[in-house]
């Protein structure tokens, strides 16, 4: 394959409507950001799926490793006091 077929990979994020966050929808190949945006529009928004698109070079994303999942996320599991249901309020008080 010639080097013209080796465009870098971009991750695509689409905001489905104002008021919502951009959400990851997939990836694509493009030689630069401008073409990546155009491709993203064609590939991921053919049915009015969004009104705003972000493209980010895949290589710019730093991801946590799956094997670090426990170290990173289990400490939150036993902190039930971070949730409102942990606190006992008599029903008589009404909504609080």
């Amino acid at each position: 394959m010639s080097d013209t077929d080796n465009w870098k990979i971009w991750e695509v994020f689409v905001r489905s409507k104002n008021g919502l966050s951009h959400k990851h929808v997939g990836s694509l190949h493009a030689p630069d950001a401008e073409v990546a945006l155009k491709n993203a529009r064609d590939v991921y928004t053919r049915r009015s799926e969004g009104n705003s698109v972000w493209v980010v070079p895949s290589e710019a994303i730093t991801a946590s490793a799956p094997e670090d999942k426990e170290a990173l996320f289990t400490p939150a599991d036993d902190k039930v006091y971070r949730h409102p249901t942990f606190y006992e309020i008599p029903d008589d008080v009404g909504h609080i």
Partner: protein, 316 residues
């Protein structure tokens, strides 16, 4: 020290209906099977554009033309979603496309049949997309996350494909005698190849059991084929068309249709590259790839130039 058997743990994980994501540990054969299956699926979407594109310029009305254009454009998009999913497994898209163009990689044999009349466009949407949807609905629950997500997107978009095909058939069947004959002729030619799309029988399908165990596949080839037949026969009756199978019969006991033997010799013949259009399809793909080279080169040159200009600006 306790030895951890990664493969056993993986198997348990998959059996507990949890999804595998790109960076997770997975057995090498699982990765390889997925890359093969997803890339073949992507190639099928891409090659699948060719038989239908044959009729875009000759669609009988503007309404039919915009629908067919949108459908073919969707297939291109579906190919891209699937190549992306394959890349999350460490495959390189350029290599996958290279294998398609050199003839090394396979794609669905159904696209090696010709589209002789406008009715074929109806039959493809109704039968070929119908069979593809049966398979793809199952794959929405596949164990590999990126593949499952691509399938959810694809299924949402494909339901229009089947409806537009059936609508074409319906219009022809309500039309003149000649138009109805065209529809019957298309059904006659597409019925058996559509049943072959589900692959060899369970007894003959060597990879199936492993794929089921890994939850890549959730239903067997024969189960999916039966589902498709049960769903499609009443639709043919509604059209007033006859399915070209003399042994087709409703079985009260099983609640399924019984059907005649599939000509597997034809299936393997087309699979080996000897179908009516294998050569033509591959040539068309190669031509499109070669003809597009200057676009890729121009885009690269433009990207490079823009980058250099930016460099000059920030230096100044």
């Amino acid at each position: 020290m306790e030895t951890i058997n990664f493969e056993e743990r993986f198997q348990e994980y998959v059996h507990s209906e949890q999804k595998v994501e790109p960076k997770h540990w997975m057995p090498e054969p699982y990765r390889k099977t997925l890359i093969r299956q997803i890339s073949q699926h992507a190639h099928s979407e891409v090659v699948g554009m060719l038989p239908e594109a044959n009729w875009i310029s000759r669609a009988p009305s503007l309404r039919r033309k915009v629908a067919l254009l949108a459908k073919v454009q969707d297939e291109a998009g579906h190919g891209l979603y699937l190549y992306s999913a394959a890349e999350t497994l460490g495959a390189d898209r350029a290599d996958l496309v290279g294998d398609l163009l050199s003839g090394k990689a396979k794609y669905s044999s159904i696209f090696n049949y010709p589209t002789r009349s406008w009715a074929d466009i109806g039959a493809i949407g109704w039968l070929v997309d119908g069979a593809a949807i049966a398979n793809q609905v199952m794959l929405c629950r596949t164990s590999y996350g990126p593949y499952a997500r691509a399938m959810v997107r694809i299924c949402k978009e494909e339901s229009f494909h089947q409806r537009q095909g059936y609508e074409i058939m319906l219009a022809l069947c309500k039309g003149t005698k000649e138009q109805k004959e065209m529809a019957q002729d298309a059904l006659n030619r597409w019925w058996w190849p559509s049943l072959m799309m589900f692959g060899p029988t369970d007894k003959e399908s060597t990879n199936s059991a492993q794929s089921m165990n890994w939850k890549i596949k959730r239903k067997s080839n024969d189960e999916l084929r039966q589902e498709f037949i049960d769903k499609t026969v009443p639709q043919a009756e509604f059209l007033g068309l006859t399915i070209p199978d003399e042994q087709l019969e409703w079985d009260e006991k099983t609640g399924h249709y019984r059907f005649g033997p599939i000509d597997w010799e034809e299936f393997y013949h087309v699979l080996k590259g000897n179908g009516p259009c294998n050569k033509e399809r591959l040539e068309a793909r190669n031509k499109a790839h070669d003809d597009g080279r200057w676009v890729r080169e121009a885009a690269n040159a433009f990207a490079k130039k823009t980058q250099e200009r930016k460099g000059e600006h920030s230096a100044a």
